[in-house]
Symmetry: C2
Subunit: 254 residues, 2 copies
């Protein structure tokens, strides 16, 4: 049974998509079969893997409307054993259409069906909100990975996010664990980053992952080439950091 991990943070621009793509790719090159599901109507994970969000024959929206099965939505990326269920702007419709539906938080969990048997990991990239798309991911997931940049606003949002995860655990998904808090875009020369880093380690010590992702421009360049950073520049600090993260995630129990 594959492990399902939701990459979530309602704070914008903290590195959710960068983490979802590069963790997935690092797991795939480590021999794991990985399915990356893009749940953000912006379609950044789809774009970052080189797919066009405007010419998709099918997308994850078709899963929410029930028109397609999950395995009909799978595309192969340029990285062996990294497969993608893409998203595009149509997905905005799902948020609105789900509001009145029965079992609206369970649509994705039900839709994943057989996929968890075919893949070792299913990674879900979420939009910067705690709306129905993210709630579907939290309900379907075994664990939550929380990317967080070491800055003030990102730290303020963490308390509320952990509270929401606890509410989901109590009412929708009792098995939901926290995979960990991943500190991203970290620059050791920057006082603010160091202060926030220490504060988060102090408050949430047991939840913070060993791996930290440094600020590294190569990570921001890779998506414009439609490739994970491992493909774009394997020797970069960014690639090495995500490779280390994959190793750490693989040591966690399924």
């Amino acid at each position: 049974m594959g492990k399902v991990i939701a990459v979530v943070n309602q704070k914008g621009g903290v590195g959710k998509t960068t983490t979802a793509i590069n963790l997935s790719a690092s797991l795939a090159v480590s021999g794991k079969k990985v399915l990356l599901i893009d749940l953000d109507p912006q379609g950044n994970a789809t774009d970052g893997l080189g797919f066009s969000t405007t010419h998709l024959p099918v997308s994850v929206y078709d899963l929410f409307t029930g028109r397609k099965e999950i395995l009909e939505l799978v595309f192969k990326s340029t990285t062996p054993w990294l497969h993608l269920v893409p998203a595009n702007i149509n997905l905005v419709g799902a948020e609105v259409e789900l509001v009145g539906a029965y079992g609206r938080e369970f649509v994705l969990k039900t839709g994943l069906g057989k996929a968890a048997e075919r893949y070792d990991y299913i990674i879900m990239d979420c939009p910067p909100s705690l709306g129905l798309l993210t709630l579907n991911a939290l309900t379907a997931a075994h664990s939550v990975l929380i990317p967080m940049q070491c800055e003030y606003y990102a730290m303020r949002g963490l308390q509320h996010l952990l509270k929401t995860i606890e509410q989901v655990r109590q009412s929708l998904n009792p098995a939901l664990q926290i995979e960990g808090i991943l500190l991203t875009m970290f620059d050791g020369r920057n006082n603010l980053n160091r202060q926030v880093f220490d504060e988060v380690q102090g408050h949430f010590n047991d939840k913070v992952l060993e791996s930290t992702i440094p600020r590294n421009i190569i990570l921001a360049e890779a998506p414009s080439h439609g490739r994970p950073v491992l493909d774009y520049d394997v020797g970069s600090k960014g690639a090495q950091a995500y490779f280390a993260l994959a190793k750490e995630v693989m040591t966690h129990a399924a």
Copy 2:
């Protein structure tokens, strides 16, 4: 009649809140009466001005539910003539409650009522989405200010945002103009930033503002002190850049 400006970009972490706070403060010290409205349930603009999002007696949510008039929701900040209508997590409720309501995109425009007569500028900080809260801001606004970091994903989202603005102009708010695209977190030593900067200038030349905001750590430090950057470190590059932006905005016709 005061000018109403919505600060919008569905891409997360591009500097919407930093722009809303520091443009507002710069306009206030230039002698303008400014009302900043926080429309993000994260409450970052509220937080960044030193207010607690957990102990608010009233908030902008009360405007959406019709329980309060706008002028009952105004708080004075530490900067003279910079007033705030705060937000907190309750605002998440408004998104869901508005879905089935009549004239759901016009609630804020109607709610602003007399405020536009009392203030020279009303600035609205929006969440990283194009949902009903942002649509309410676009419907109530005279113009839209679009902060954009010079990176790949932010550039990809711009096309879709401009299309949405055009749709709002045609169906909800014919008077809606574009105040401009503000390039943020710009680091001239960074190739990617320079490439994206040139590309945006090339494609959207007439819409790009003269002012550019450099990457400057002081801007990220100021919110942890609950002060606009002009209060925190007036000599910093960040403060000077937002001051120049305010000057530019004041030269635009109302």
